[in-house]
Protein backbone atom coordinates (compact mmCIF):
# COMPACT_ATOMS: atom_id res chain seq x y z
CA UNK A 1 0.00 0.00 0.00
CA UNK A 2 0.96 3.66 -0.21
CA UNK A 3 1.75 5.50 3.00
CA UNK A 4 3.15 8.85 4.08
CA UNK A 5 6.38 8.20 5.99
CA UNK A 6 8.40 10.47 8.26
CA UNK A 7 12.01 10.18 7.09
CA UNK A 8 13.66 12.86 9.23
CA UNK A 9 13.11 16.48 10.24
CA UNK A 10 11.43 18.37 7.35
CA UNK A 11 11.52 15.16 5.32
CA UNK A 12 8.33 13.30 4.49
CA UNK A 13 7.96 10.77 1.67
CA UNK A 14 5.09 8.82 0.15
CA UNK A 15 6.32 5.25 -0.12
CA UNK A 16 5.03 1.80 -0.95
CA UNK A 17 5.08 -0.34 2.20
CA UNK A 18 3.54 -3.65 3.31
CA UNK A 19 -0.18 -3.76 4.04
CA UNK A 20 -0.97 -3.90 7.77
CA UNK A 21 -2.17 -7.18 9.24
CA UNK A 22 -4.06 -8.25 12.35
CA UNK A 23 -1.59 -8.64 15.22
CA UNK A 24 -3.82 -8.87 18.29
CA UNK A 25 -7.30 -10.29 18.98
CA UNK A 26 -8.95 -6.86 19.27
CA UNK A 27 -7.40 -5.40 16.10
CA UNK A 28 -9.29 -4.22 13.04
CA UNK A 29 -7.88 -3.34 9.64
CA UNK A 30 -9.49 -0.26 8.12
CA UNK A 31 -9.44 0.70 4.46
CA UNK A 32 -8.88 4.44 4.78
CA UNK A 33 -11.30 6.54 2.73
CA UNK A 34 -10.25 9.96 4.04
CA UNK A 35 -7.39 11.16 6.21
CA UNK A 36 -5.95 14.56 7.06
CA UNK A 37 -2.79 16.35 8.08
CA UNK A 38 -3.10 17.75 11.60
CA UNK A 39 -1.43 20.89 12.89
CA UNK A 40 0.26 18.65 15.45
CA UNK A 41 1.81 16.67 12.57
CA UNK A 42 3.76 19.84 11.85
CA UNK A 43 5.44 19.46 15.27
CA UNK A 44 6.67 16.06 13.99
CA UNK A 45 7.68 17.57 10.64
CA UNK A 46 9.72 20.20 12.46
CA UNK A 47 11.40 17.58 14.65
CA UNK A 48 9.99 18.82 17.97
CA UNK A 49 8.71 15.45 19.14
CA UNK A 50 11.41 12.99 20.25
CA UNK A 51 11.46 9.30 19.26
CA UNK A 52 10.18 9.75 15.72
CA UNK A 53 12.20 7.39 13.55
CA UNK A 54 12.82 7.10 9.83
CA UNK A 55 10.13 4.95 8.25
CA UNK A 56 7.32 5.82 10.69
CA UNK A 57 3.94 6.10 8.99
CA UNK A 58 2.30 9.42 9.86
CA UNK A 59 -1.32 10.34 10.44
CA UNK A 60 -3.79 10.24 13.29
CA UNK A 61 -6.92 11.68 11.67
CA UNK A 62 -8.65 9.09 9.51
CA UNK A 63 -11.84 7.22 8.74
CA UNK A 64 -12.76 4.37 6.50
CA UNK A 65 -14.36 0.98 5.95
CA UNK A 66 -13.66 -2.05 8.13
CA UNK A 67 -11.75 -4.56 6.04
CA UNK A 68 -11.02 -7.29 8.59
CA UNK A 69 -11.48 -7.82 12.33
CA UNK A 70 -9.64 -9.93 14.93
CA UNK A 71 -11.42 -12.74 16.78
CA UNK A 72 -12.00 -10.55 19.84
CA UNK A 73 -13.78 -7.75 17.98
CA UNK A 74 -17.51 -8.00 18.63
CA UNK A 75 -19.01 -4.65 17.68
CA UNK A 76 -17.58 -4.16 14.19
CA UNK A 77 -17.73 -6.24 11.06
CA UNK A 78 -16.32 -6.07 7.57
CA UNK A 79 -17.97 -3.28 5.61
CA UNK A 80 -18.83 -1.04 8.58
CA UNK A 81 -18.05 2.63 8.07
CA UNK A 82 -16.13 4.11 10.99
CA UNK A 83 -14.28 7.18 12.19
CA UNK A 84 -11.36 6.41 14.52
CA UNK A 85 -10.18 8.53 17.49
CA UNK A 86 -6.49 9.44 17.49
CA UNK A 87 -6.04 8.28 21.09
CA UNK A 88 -6.15 4.51 21.62
CA UNK A 89 -7.99 3.35 24.74
CA UNK A 90 -8.53 -0.11 26.23
CA UNK A 91 -11.87 0.66 27.89
CA UNK A 92 -11.11 -1.47 30.95
CA UNK A 93 -8.41 0.17 33.04
CA UNK A 94 -9.28 2.48 35.93
CA UNK A 95 -8.62 5.58 33.80
CA UNK A 96 -10.90 4.48 30.97
CA UNK A 97 -13.56 3.65 33.56
CA UNK A 98 -13.29 7.25 34.78
CA UNK A 99 -13.65 8.39 31.14
CA UNK A 100 -10.08 9.72 31.14
CA UNK A 101 -9.48 7.83 27.90
CA UNK A 102 -6.30 9.72 26.94
CA UNK A 103 -4.74 8.49 30.20
CA UNK A 104 -5.37 4.81 29.37
CA UNK A 105 -2.88 2.49 31.07
CA UNK A 106 -2.89 -0.36 28.58
CA UNK A 107 -2.44 0.85 25.01
CA UNK A 108 1.13 2.10 24.84
CA UNK A 109 3.57 -0.75 24.03
CA UNK A 110 6.45 1.68 24.68
CA UNK A 111 5.16 3.09 27.95
CA UNK A 112 8.66 2.77 29.41
CA UNK A 113 10.00 5.33 26.91
CA UNK A 114 7.42 7.87 27.95
CA UNK A 115 8.02 7.09 31.62
CA UNK A 116 11.73 7.71 31.08
CA UNK A 117 11.04 11.07 29.43
CA UNK A 118 8.06 12.35 31.42
CA UNK A 119 7.65 10.14 34.48
CA UNK A 120 4.30 8.77 33.32
CA UNK A 121 2.74 7.21 30.27
CA UNK A 122 -0.51 8.15 28.58
CA UNK A 123 -2.44 6.21 25.98
CA UNK A 124 -0.95 5.16 22.69
CA UNK A 125 -1.53 7.47 19.71
CA UNK A 126 -1.55 6.70 16.00
CA UNK A 127 1.50 7.88 14.05
CA UNK A 128 2.93 10.08 16.77
CA UNK A 129 6.39 8.81 17.81
CA UNK A 130 7.68 5.63 19.43
CA UNK A 131 7.32 7.14 22.88
CA UNK A 132 3.57 7.49 22.27
CA UNK A 133 3.25 3.86 21.22
CA UNK A 134 5.07 3.53 17.91
CA UNK A 135 1.78 2.77 16.13
CA UNK A 136 1.70 3.13 12.36
CA UNK A 137 -0.52 6.05 11.36
CA UNK A 138 -3.42 6.52 9.00
CA UNK A 139 -2.02 8.69 6.19
CA UNK A 140 -2.08 5.47 4.22
CA UNK A 141 -4.43 3.26 2.24
CA UNK A 142 -4.92 0.85 5.14
CA UNK A 143 -4.34 1.10 8.86
CA UNK A 144 -4.41 -1.32 11.79
CA UNK A 145 -6.66 -0.14 14.63
CA UNK A 146 -5.98 -1.85 17.98
CA UNK A 147 -8.63 -2.13 20.72
CA UNK A 148 -11.25 -1.76 17.99
CA UNK A 149 -14.16 -2.55 20.32
CA UNK A 150 -13.52 0.69 22.15
CA UNK A 151 -12.43 3.44 19.75
CA UNK A 152 -14.02 3.42 16.30
CA UNK A 153 -17.41 5.11 16.02
CA UNK A 154 -19.77 3.50 13.52
CA UNK A 155 -21.40 5.90 11.05
CA UNK A 156 -24.86 4.65 10.09
CA UNK A 157 -25.95 7.74 8.13
CA UNK A 158 -24.87 8.57 4.61
CA UNK A 159 -23.23 11.87 5.54
CA UNK A 160 -20.15 12.46 3.35
CA UNK A 161 -16.71 11.63 4.77
CA UNK A 162 -15.69 15.28 4.91
CA UNK A 163 -18.43 16.07 7.44
CA UNK A 164 -17.39 13.13 9.65
CA UNK A 165 -13.59 13.01 9.37
CA UNK A 166 -12.79 15.68 11.95
CA UNK A 167 -14.47 13.65 14.69
CA UNK A 168 -11.12 11.76 14.67
CA UNK A 169 -9.35 14.61 16.49
CA UNK A 170 -9.77 18.31 15.87
CA UNK A 171 -13.52 18.79 16.39
CA UNK A 172 -13.55 16.94 19.75
CA UNK A 173 -10.25 18.64 20.63
CA UNK A 174 -11.70 22.09 19.95
CA UNK A 175 -14.88 21.14 21.78
CA UNK A 176 -13.03 19.81 24.85
CA UNK A 177 -10.99 23.03 24.83
CA UNK A 178 -14.22 25.02 25.08
CA UNK A 179 -15.60 22.66 27.73
CA UNK A 180 -12.33 22.97 29.71
CA UNK A 181 -12.72 26.75 29.50
CA UNK A 182 -15.68 26.42 31.93
CA UNK A 183 -17.76 28.89 29.93
CA UNK A 184 -20.79 30.43 31.65
CA UNK A 185 -23.59 32.01 29.59
CA UNK A 186 -22.60 35.55 28.66
CA UNK A 187 -18.86 35.00 29.01
CA UNK A 188 -16.14 36.45 26.83
CA UNK A 189 -13.66 33.86 25.57
CA UNK A 190 -10.33 34.61 23.89
CA UNK A 191 -8.84 32.01 21.55
CA UNK A 192 -5.19 32.15 20.49
CA UNK A 193 -4.59 30.37 17.18
CA UNK A 194 -7.25 30.13 14.49
CA UNK A 195 -6.04 26.93 12.91
CA UNK A 196 -8.46 23.99 12.80
CA UNK A 197 -8.55 23.36 16.57
CA UNK A 198 -8.93 27.10 17.23
CA UNK A 199 -11.79 27.30 14.72
CA UNK A 200 -13.62 24.41 16.39
CA UNK A 201 -12.91 25.91 19.82
CA UNK A 202 -14.51 29.17 18.62
CA UNK A 203 -17.56 27.37 17.24
CA UNK A 204 -17.83 25.22 20.39
CA UNK A 205 -17.47 28.24 22.71
CA UNK A 206 -20.56 29.74 21.06
CA UNK A 207 -22.35 26.37 21.38
CA UNK A 208 -21.57 26.39 25.11
CA UNK A 209 -23.03 29.84 25.66
CA UNK A 210 -20.21 32.35 25.18
CA UNK A 211 -21.56 35.80 24.38
CA UNK A 212 -18.38 36.92 22.69
CA UNK A 213 -15.38 35.09 21.27
CA UNK A 214 -12.20 36.98 20.50
CA UNK A 215 -9.95 35.23 17.96
CA UNK A 216 -6.22 35.97 17.73
CA UNK A 217 -4.04 35.05 14.73
CA UNK A 218 -2.05 36.71 11.96
CA UNK A 219 -3.23 34.87 8.84
CA UNK A 220 -6.05 36.76 7.05
CA UNK A 221 -7.82 33.62 5.80
CA UNK A 222 -8.05 32.24 9.32
CA UNK A 223 -9.25 35.52 10.77
CA UNK A 224 -11.85 35.75 7.99
CA UNK A 225 -13.05 32.25 8.87
CA UNK A 226 -13.29 33.17 12.57
CA UNK A 227 -15.30 36.31 11.78
CA UNK A 228 -17.60 34.26 9.53
CA UNK A 229 -18.82 32.32 12.58
CA UNK A 230 -19.22 35.46 14.68
CA UNK A 231 -15.87 36.01 16.42
CA UNK A 232 -14.19 39.39 16.91
CA UNK A 233 -10.65 39.18 15.56
CA UNK A 234 -7.27 40.58 16.57
CA UNK A 235 -4.37 40.44 14.10
CA UNK A 236 -1.37 40.34 16.42
CA UNK A 237 1.05 41.00 13.57
CA UNK A 238 -0.28 44.50 12.89
CA UNK A 239 2.24 47.13 13.93
CA UNK A 240 0.01 49.05 16.30
CA UNK A 241 -1.63 46.02 17.95
CA UNK A 242 -0.75 44.75 21.42
CA UNK A 243 -2.77 41.66 22.22
CA UNK A 244 -2.86 42.41 25.96
CA UNK A 245 -4.04 45.97 25.40
CA UNK A 246 -6.59 44.80 22.84
CA UNK A 247 -8.02 42.21 25.23
CA UNK A 248 -8.26 44.82 27.99
CA UNK A 249 -9.91 47.28 25.64
CA UNK A 250 -12.45 44.65 24.61
CA UNK A 251 -13.29 43.66 28.21
CA UNK A 252 -13.41 47.00 30.04
CA UNK A 253 -9.98 46.32 31.50
CA UNK A 254 -10.97 43.07 33.20
CA UNK A 255 -9.60 40.49 30.75
CA UNK A 256 -11.48 37.59 29.15
CA UNK A 257 -13.35 35.18 31.43
CA UNK A 258 -11.64 32.29 29.69
CA UNK A 259 -8.56 32.00 27.50
CA UNK A 260 -7.86 29.11 25.13
CA UNK A 261 -4.30 28.44 23.93
CA UNK A 262 -4.84 26.60 20.65
CA UNK A 263 -1.26 27.18 19.56
CA UNK A 264 1.07 25.25 21.83
CA UNK A 265 4.78 24.76 21.72
CA UNK A 266 5.69 26.36 18.41
CA UNK A 267 4.15 29.78 19.00
CA UNK A 268 5.31 32.67 16.87
CA UNK A 269 5.71 36.01 18.56
CA UNK A 270 6.37 39.50 17.32
CA UNK A 271 7.83 40.51 20.65
CA UNK A 272 11.34 40.33 22.06
CA UNK A 273 10.48 37.17 24.03
CA UNK A 274 9.83 35.45 20.68
CA UNK A 275 13.48 35.91 19.73
CA UNK A 276 14.52 34.77 23.21
CA UNK A 277 12.57 31.49 22.77
CA UNK A 278 13.88 30.93 19.23
CA UNK A 279 17.47 31.22 20.48
CA UNK A 280 16.95 29.13 23.60
CA UNK A 281 15.21 26.29 21.76
CA UNK A 282 17.93 26.25 19.09
CA UNK A 283 20.55 25.99 21.85
CA UNK A 284 18.45 23.17 23.40
CA UNK A 285 18.11 25.16 26.62
CA UNK A 286 14.35 25.20 26.21
CA UNK A 287 12.11 22.75 24.39
CA UNK A 288 9.02 24.85 23.75
CA UNK A 289 8.21 28.41 22.74
CA UNK A 290 5.47 29.29 25.20
CA UNK A 291 4.72 32.90 24.23
CA UNK A 292 0.98 32.26 23.88
CA UNK A 293 0.81 30.57 27.25
CA UNK A 294 2.54 33.54 28.88
CA UNK A 295 0.20 35.97 27.19
CA UNK A 296 -2.93 33.99 28.07
CA UNK A 297 -1.94 33.88 31.75
CA UNK A 298 -1.38 37.65 31.68
CA UNK A 299 -4.65 38.30 29.84
CA UNK A 300 -7.19 36.13 31.66
CA UNK A 301 -9.36 37.88 34.24
CA UNK A 302 -8.97 37.32 37.99
CA UNK A 303 -10.38 33.90 38.85
CA UNK A 304 -10.72 33.06 35.17
CA UNK A 305 -9.96 29.82 33.34
CA UNK A 306 -7.13 28.94 31.00
CA UNK A 307 -7.76 25.99 28.69
CA UNK A 308 -4.82 24.52 26.76
CA UNK A 309 -5.52 22.22 23.79
CA UNK A 310 -2.24 23.29 22.15
CA UNK A 311 0.48 20.66 22.52
CA UNK A 312 3.45 21.26 24.82
CA UNK A 313 6.39 18.88 24.79
CA UNK A 314 8.77 19.68 27.59
CA UNK A 315 10.27 22.47 29.64
CA UNK A 316 9.01 26.03 29.51
CA UNK A 317 10.83 29.22 30.43
CA UNK A 318 9.59 32.40 32.05
CA UNK A 319 5.99 31.35 32.61
CA UNK A 320 4.41 34.10 34.76
CA UNK A 321 3.30 31.79 37.51
CA UNK A 322 3.07 34.62 40.01
CA UNK A 323 0.30 36.19 37.96
CA UNK A 324 -1.43 32.82 37.62
CA UNK A 325 -1.33 32.35 41.39
CA UNK A 326 -2.20 35.94 42.22
CA UNK A 327 -5.28 35.90 40.00
CA UNK A 328 -6.33 32.49 41.26
CA UNK A 329 -6.86 31.11 37.78
CA UNK A 330 -7.86 27.57 36.85
CA UNK A 331 -5.79 25.79 34.19
CA UNK A 332 -7.19 22.77 32.34
CA UNK A 333 -5.32 20.94 29.61
CA UNK A 334 -4.31 17.64 28.12
CA UNK A 335 -4.81 15.24 25.25
CA UNK A 336 -8.45 14.99 24.27
CA UNK A 337 -10.56 12.34 25.96
CA UNK A 338 -11.94 11.62 22.50
CA UNK A 339 -14.36 8.87 23.35
CA UNK A 340 -16.50 11.26 25.46
CA UNK A 341 -17.20 13.59 22.57
CA UNK A 342 -17.44 11.60 19.34
CA UNK A 343 -21.04 10.37 19.67
CA UNK A 344 -22.55 13.65 20.97
CA UNK A 345 -20.71 15.68 18.32
CA UNK A 346 -21.78 13.23 15.59
CA UNK A 347 -25.36 13.90 16.71
CA UNK A 348 -24.81 17.65 16.37
CA UNK A 349 -23.49 17.09 12.84
CA UNK A 350 -26.42 14.83 11.96
CA UNK A 351 -28.87 17.46 13.25
CA UNK A 352 -27.22 20.04 11.02
CA UNK A 353 -26.02 22.22 13.91
CA UNK A 354 -22.52 22.28 12.46
CA UNK A 355 -20.82 21.16 9.26
CA UNK A 356 -17.15 20.72 10.21
CA UNK A 357 -16.05 20.61 6.56
CA UNK A 358 -16.07 24.43 6.48
CA UNK A 359 -12.43 24.50 7.55
CA UNK A 360 -11.11 22.46 4.57
CA UNK A 361 -8.94 24.47 2.20
CA UNK A 362 -7.06 21.75 0.29
CA UNK A 363 -7.97 18.30 -1.03
CA UNK A 364 -4.97 16.23 -2.11
CA UNK A 365 -3.65 12.73 -2.90
CA UNK A 366 -1.11 10.76 -0.87
CA UNK A 367 1.54 11.66 -3.45
CA UNK A 368 0.92 15.37 -2.81
CA UNK A 369 1.37 15.02 0.96
CA UNK A 370 5.16 15.58 1.22
CA UNK A 371 4.91 18.89 -0.62
CA UNK A 372 1.84 19.97 1.35
CA UNK A 373 3.54 19.38 4.71
CA UNK A 374 6.07 21.97 3.61
CA UNK A 375 3.47 24.36 2.22
CA UNK A 376 1.46 24.28 5.45
CA UNK A 377 4.52 24.57 7.69
CA UNK A 378 5.62 27.63 5.71
CA UNK A 379 2.07 29.06 5.99
CA UNK A 380 1.72 29.39 2.24
CA UNK A 381 -1.22 28.90 -0.14
CA UNK A 382 -3.68 29.96 2.60
CA UNK A 383 -3.88 26.47 4.06
CA UNK A 384 -6.40 25.97 6.86
CA UNK A 385 -6.94 22.21 6.57
CA UNK A 386 -5.58 19.56 4.22
CA UNK A 387 -7.65 16.44 3.54
CA UNK A 388 -6.22 13.43 1.73
CA UNK A 389 -8.08 10.91 -0.43
CA UNK A 390 -5.70 7.93 -0.20
CA UNK A 391 -7.14 6.30 -3.30
CA UNK A 392 -7.17 9.31 -5.63
CA UNK A 393 -4.62 9.48 -8.42
CA UNK A 394 -2.43 12.54 -8.56
CA UNK A 395 -3.54 14.94 -11.26
CA UNK A 396 -0.75 15.51 -13.75
CA UNK A 397 -0.42 19.23 -14.29
Amino acid sequence: MKAVCWMGTSKVETLTVDDPKLLNPHDAIIKVTRTAICGSDLHLYDGFIPTMEAGDILGHEFMGIVEEVGRGVTNLKRGDRVVVPFTIACGNCSFCKKKLWAACDNTNPNAHLMEAAYGYSGSGLFGYSHMMGGYAGGQAQYVRVPFANVGPLKIESDLPDEKILFLSDIFPTGYMAAENAQIQPGDTVAVWGCGPVGQFAIASAFMLGAARVIAIDRLPERLDMARSVGAITIDYSEDDVSVLTALKDLTAGAGPDSCIDAVGLEAHSTELQGIYDQVKTKLMLETDRPSVLRQAIQAVRKGGTLSIPGVYGGLLDKVPFGAAFGKGITMKMGQTNMHNYMQPLLERIEKGEIDPSYIISHRITLDDAPEMYKVWRDKKEQVTKIVIDPWAERKVA
Binding site: D19, E53, A54, G55, C90, D105, T107, H130, R144
Partner: protein, 216 residues
Amino acid sequence: MSDALREKPNAEPLPKSAGAGVIVNGRYLPPPVDKDGKQWVRTSAFIQASPQDLYAMWRDVEAIPLWQEQITAVTRTGDKTSHWVMKSGDKTLEWDSEILADEPGERIAWRSTGGDSDNAGEVIFETAPGGLGTVATVLQEFRMGKFASMWETIVGRNPKQAVIENLRHFKALAETGEIPRNQGQPHGPRGTVGGAKESLYGEKVETPPAMDRKAS
Protein backbone atom coordinates in the same frame (compact mmCIF):
# COMPACT_ATOMS: atom_id res chain seq x y z
CA MET B 1 19.86 -31.77 34.85
CA SER B 2 23.36 -30.92 33.63
CA ASP B 3 26.32 -30.41 35.94
CA ALA B 4 26.26 -26.72 35.08
CA LEU B 5 22.76 -26.52 36.45
CA ARG B 6 23.73 -28.24 39.72
CA GLU B 7 26.77 -26.07 40.31
CA LYS B 8 24.79 -22.88 40.54
CA PRO B 9 24.12 -21.71 44.09
CA ASN B 10 20.54 -21.20 45.10
CA ALA B 11 19.16 -17.76 45.55
CA GLU B 12 18.22 -16.97 49.12
CA PRO B 13 14.66 -17.49 50.21
CA LEU B 14 12.65 -14.37 50.92
CA PRO B 15 11.40 -13.58 54.43
CA LYS B 16 8.39 -15.55 55.64
CA SER B 17 6.18 -12.50 55.84
CA ALA B 18 5.47 -10.37 52.79
CA GLY B 19 8.67 -8.58 51.81
CA ALA B 20 7.23 -6.73 48.84
CA GLY B 21 5.17 -4.39 50.99
CA VAL B 22 5.46 -0.65 50.61
CA ILE B 23 4.01 0.34 53.99
CA VAL B 24 5.16 -1.27 57.24
CA ASN B 25 3.63 -0.12 60.55
CA GLY B 26 2.39 3.07 58.90
CA ARG B 27 5.76 4.02 57.47
CA TYR B 28 6.77 4.08 53.84
CA LEU B 29 9.37 1.40 53.16
CA PRO B 30 11.75 2.19 50.28
CA PRO B 31 12.75 -0.67 47.98
CA PRO B 32 15.88 -2.65 48.94
CA VAL B 33 19.19 -1.19 47.79
CA ASP B 34 21.40 -3.08 45.32
CA LYS B 35 24.44 -4.53 47.08
CA ASP B 36 26.63 -7.62 47.40
CA GLY B 37 26.01 -8.52 43.76
CA LYS B 38 22.26 -8.58 44.29
CA GLN B 39 19.90 -6.35 42.37
CA TRP B 40 16.41 -5.56 43.47
CA VAL B 41 13.41 -4.17 41.71
CA ARG B 42 10.02 -3.36 43.18
CA THR B 43 7.10 -2.36 40.98
CA SER B 44 3.36 -2.16 41.46
CA ALA B 45 0.15 -1.53 39.54
CA PHE B 46 -3.58 -1.08 40.04
CA ILE B 47 -5.39 -3.84 38.20
CA GLN B 48 -9.14 -3.98 37.56
CA ALA B 49 -9.65 -7.56 38.76
CA SER B 50 -10.04 -9.39 42.05
CA PRO B 51 -7.00 -10.50 44.08
CA GLN B 52 -8.28 -14.09 43.74
CA ASP B 53 -8.38 -13.98 39.93
CA LEU B 54 -4.99 -12.31 39.70
CA TYR B 55 -3.46 -14.82 42.09
CA ALA B 56 -4.85 -17.65 39.95
CA MET B 57 -3.46 -16.09 36.78
CA TRP B 58 0.02 -15.68 38.28
CA ARG B 59 -0.03 -19.14 39.85
CA ASP B 60 -0.77 -20.79 36.48
CA VAL B 61 2.94 -21.18 35.77
CA GLU B 62 2.61 -23.00 32.47
CA ALA B 63 0.71 -19.97 31.06
CA ILE B 64 3.48 -17.56 32.01
CA PRO B 65 4.93 -17.43 28.45
CA LEU B 66 1.66 -15.67 27.52
CA TRP B 67 2.77 -12.57 29.43
CA GLN B 68 6.43 -12.72 30.47
CA GLU B 69 8.98 -11.52 27.96
CA GLN B 70 11.28 -14.10 26.38
CA ILE B 71 10.03 -16.99 28.51
CA THR B 72 9.34 -19.68 25.92
CA ALA B 73 8.26 -22.53 28.20
CA VAL B 74 7.49 -23.21 31.84
CA THR B 75 6.89 -26.85 32.75
CA ARG B 76 5.44 -27.97 36.08
CA THR B 77 7.74 -30.52 37.69
CA GLY B 78 5.80 -30.80 40.96
CA ASP B 79 3.11 -29.06 42.96
CA LYS B 80 5.44 -26.17 43.77
CA THR B 81 8.31 -26.67 41.36
CA SER B 82 8.77 -25.82 37.71
CA HIS B 83 11.38 -25.71 34.96
CA TRP B 84 11.86 -22.46 33.02
CA VAL B 85 13.22 -21.88 29.50
CA MET B 86 14.09 -18.44 28.29
CA LYS B 87 15.30 -17.43 24.82
CA SER B 88 17.39 -14.30 24.78
CA GLY B 89 18.78 -13.44 21.40
CA ASP B 90 20.22 -16.73 20.15
CA LYS B 91 20.98 -17.97 23.69
CA THR B 92 18.77 -20.29 25.68
CA LEU B 93 18.76 -20.09 29.47
CA GLU B 94 17.18 -22.73 31.68
CA TRP B 95 16.57 -22.95 35.39
CA ASP B 96 14.44 -24.63 38.01
CA SER B 97 12.20 -22.73 40.35
CA GLU B 98 10.28 -23.49 43.51
CA ILE B 99 7.43 -21.72 45.24
CA LEU B 100 8.29 -20.78 48.82
CA ALA B 101 5.04 -19.15 49.89
CA ASP B 102 1.67 -19.83 48.36
CA GLU B 103 -1.25 -17.94 49.92
CA PRO B 104 -4.28 -18.06 47.60
CA GLY B 105 -5.61 -14.63 46.72
CA GLU B 106 -2.80 -12.89 48.57
CA ARG B 107 0.78 -13.82 47.89
CA ILE B 108 3.23 -16.01 46.00
CA ALA B 109 7.00 -16.10 46.68
CA TRP B 110 9.54 -18.10 44.70
CA ARG B 111 13.23 -18.68 44.11
CA SER B 112 15.37 -20.39 41.53
CA THR B 113 16.96 -23.62 42.70
CA GLY B 114 19.65 -24.11 40.06
CA GLY B 115 20.44 -23.40 36.47
CA ASP B 116 21.36 -20.32 34.52
CA SER B 117 19.49 -17.88 36.71
CA ASP B 118 19.77 -16.88 40.34
CA ASN B 119 16.55 -15.12 41.18
CA ALA B 120 13.96 -14.85 43.87
CA GLY B 121 10.75 -12.91 43.91
CA GLU B 122 7.41 -12.26 45.44
CA VAL B 123 4.07 -10.89 44.33
CA ILE B 124 1.37 -9.68 46.69
CA PHE B 125 -2.23 -8.85 45.83
CA GLU B 126 -4.18 -6.42 48.00
CA THR B 127 -7.66 -4.99 47.50
CA ALA B 128 -7.32 -1.33 46.52
CA PRO B 129 -9.56 1.44 47.85
CA GLY B 130 -11.80 3.61 45.68
CA GLY B 131 -12.78 1.08 43.02
CA LEU B 132 -9.23 0.73 41.80
CA GLY B 133 -9.40 -3.07 41.90
CA THR B 134 -6.27 -4.74 43.21
CA VAL B 135 -2.80 -3.46 43.97
CA ALA B 136 -0.28 -5.96 42.66
CA THR B 137 3.23 -5.43 44.00
CA VAL B 138 6.23 -7.39 42.75
CA LEU B 139 9.59 -7.56 44.48
CA GLN B 140 12.25 -9.36 42.49
CA GLU B 141 15.85 -10.02 43.38
CA PHE B 142 18.52 -11.38 41.11
CA ARG B 143 22.28 -11.76 40.95
CA MET B 144 24.07 -9.96 38.20
CA GLY B 145 26.21 -12.38 36.29
CA LYS B 146 25.99 -14.29 33.09
CA PHE B 147 22.22 -14.22 33.15
CA ALA B 148 21.68 -10.53 33.71
CA SER B 149 24.53 -9.17 31.68
CA MET B 150 23.55 -11.32 28.71
CA TRP B 151 20.01 -10.21 29.01
CA GLU B 152 21.01 -6.61 29.17
CA THR B 153 23.61 -6.51 26.44
CA ILE B 154 22.17 -8.86 23.85
CA VAL B 155 18.54 -7.93 23.82
CA GLY B 156 18.63 -4.37 25.01
CA ARG B 157 16.31 -4.93 27.93
CA ASN B 158 17.67 -4.14 31.35
CA PRO B 159 16.58 -6.97 33.69
CA LYS B 160 15.02 -4.55 36.15
CA GLN B 161 13.02 -3.04 33.33
CA ALA B 162 11.96 -6.53 32.27
CA VAL B 163 10.34 -7.07 35.68
CA ILE B 164 8.49 -3.76 35.29
CA GLU B 165 7.42 -4.66 31.74
CA ASN B 166 6.23 -8.09 32.82
CA LEU B 167 3.91 -6.60 35.44
CA ARG B 168 2.67 -4.15 32.81
CA HIS B 169 1.98 -7.07 30.45
CA PHE B 170 0.26 -9.00 33.25
CA LYS B 171 -2.01 -6.02 33.97
CA ALA B 172 -2.86 -5.48 30.29
CA LEU B 173 -3.66 -9.16 29.80
CA ALA B 174 -5.80 -9.27 32.96
CA GLU B 175 -7.69 -6.08 32.10
CA THR B 176 -8.09 -6.36 28.34
CA GLY B 177 -7.30 -9.91 27.26
CA GLU B 178 -4.29 -8.82 25.22
CA ILE B 179 -0.94 -7.07 25.46
CA PRO B 180 -0.47 -3.99 23.26
CA ARG B 181 1.92 -4.67 20.41
CA ASN B 182 3.54 -2.65 17.66
CA GLN B 183 5.84 -5.31 16.24
CA GLY B 184 4.85 -6.60 12.82
CA GLN B 185 3.48 -3.30 11.56
CA PRO B 186 4.34 -1.85 8.14
CA HIS B 187 6.91 0.94 7.95
CA GLY B 188 9.25 2.61 5.50
CA PRO B 189 13.00 1.98 5.42
CA ARG B 190 14.51 2.44 8.89
CA GLY B 191 18.10 3.04 7.86
CA THR B 192 21.03 2.16 10.11
CA VAL B 193 20.18 4.61 12.86
CA GLY B 194 16.52 3.56 12.95
CA GLY B 195 17.49 -0.10 13.37
CA ALA B 196 19.81 0.69 16.27
CA LYS B 197 17.10 2.81 17.88
CA GLU B 198 14.60 -0.07 17.71
CA SER B 199 16.98 -2.04 19.88
CA LEU B 200 17.54 0.91 22.20
CA TYR B 201 13.78 1.40 22.56
CA GLY B 202 13.40 -2.26 23.54
CA GLU B 203 11.27 -2.84 20.44
CA LYS B 204 13.33 -5.88 19.46
CA VAL B 205 12.24 -7.71 22.60
CA GLU B 206 9.21 -9.57 21.36
CA THR B 207 5.99 -8.58 23.09
CA PRO B 208 4.50 -11.75 24.55
CA PRO B 209 2.96 -14.00 23.54
CA ALA B 210 5.25 -14.86 20.63
CA MET B 211 3.41 -14.69 17.31
CA ASP B 212 3.89 -18.41 16.56
CA ARG B 213 2.26 -19.18 19.91
CA LYS B 214 -0.66 -16.87 19.20
CA ALA B 215 -1.35 -18.55 15.88
CA SER B 216 -1.83 -21.95 17.52
